[in-house]
Symmetry: D3
Subunit: 61 residues, 6 copies
């Protein structure tokens, strides 16, 4: 613990994910004093058909 | 914000999803005074093999 | 099931909450064919000190 | 209600899932007095490419 | 990992919680082969005013 | 969107939270190309009595 859940639309490359979890973990460690090996990051990738803002699915836009 | 996460068993049509997010957004706007463009809706579709009630997976029924 | 989680900043009245869960439930029932008694709605109220957008806590604004 | 969400790396067999939800439900019923038919369990299976600990994706290890 | 989130209405005793997390952890370890020290359980206690089923808040009943 | 939920044990100062959300937002913007004003961060503070690892509540330790 801490646990970080990041929801984002599907489509990032593995390389982007590698850098994302690395730098988010660093930010959490630096500002919470939690040891790095206790920081868990979970990426939830959303499909455009399953995410809406302003009443419209991303896939409708 | 507000953020709305809706978990439901997979299988609805895109048209059902379009109407679902539209009407849920309207209900949230009407009752929270949040502007529509700030209401986010995320659909999490569950497989029958990953949802259980009363100790049994849906796929067991 | 379906399960609906709504995250919003704390401060709505009980009456707003009563109407919110009623109308969100109606929208879910109408568009997913789920029976009303199986629709669960959970409100997660966030404190301004625990919600940030654009890198700033709401309590900083 | 209660609702139980279990996040785990993808790869368990259906049989493991059947026993998992059965025994978790039993533990919840026994210790919360909730009736079994009101206990919902949702399994969220994570891909190694979407879960990181200590700043590294599982798929990097 | 695995991570277990349990949402339930507030009001259980500390003793109930102690037994709940112990037995849920045992069920997860037994059925996923995850080591016990890697199983995290988070309890989210809901107020009756923030949980609704069948379109009605628990506090309305 | 993206949405970031960070669960951590209660007790950080407001200043720690200010820096945490700022730096996590920066890491997300840099690695997902999402505009900063679209990145939402939600902090869920857990009480020691509601978080367990290895079958024991933090409050038991």
């Amino acid at each position: 613990m801490p646990f970080v859940h990041i929801e984002l639309v599907a489509g990032r490359t593995v390389e982007q994910k590698i850098n994302l979890v690395k730098e988010v973990t660093e930010a959490v460690v630096k500002n919470t004093d939690a040891p790095s090996e206790k920081v868990h990051v979970i990426l939830n990738e959303m499909q455009p058909e399953n995410y809406a803002v302003n009443g419209e699915l991303l896939s409708q836009k």
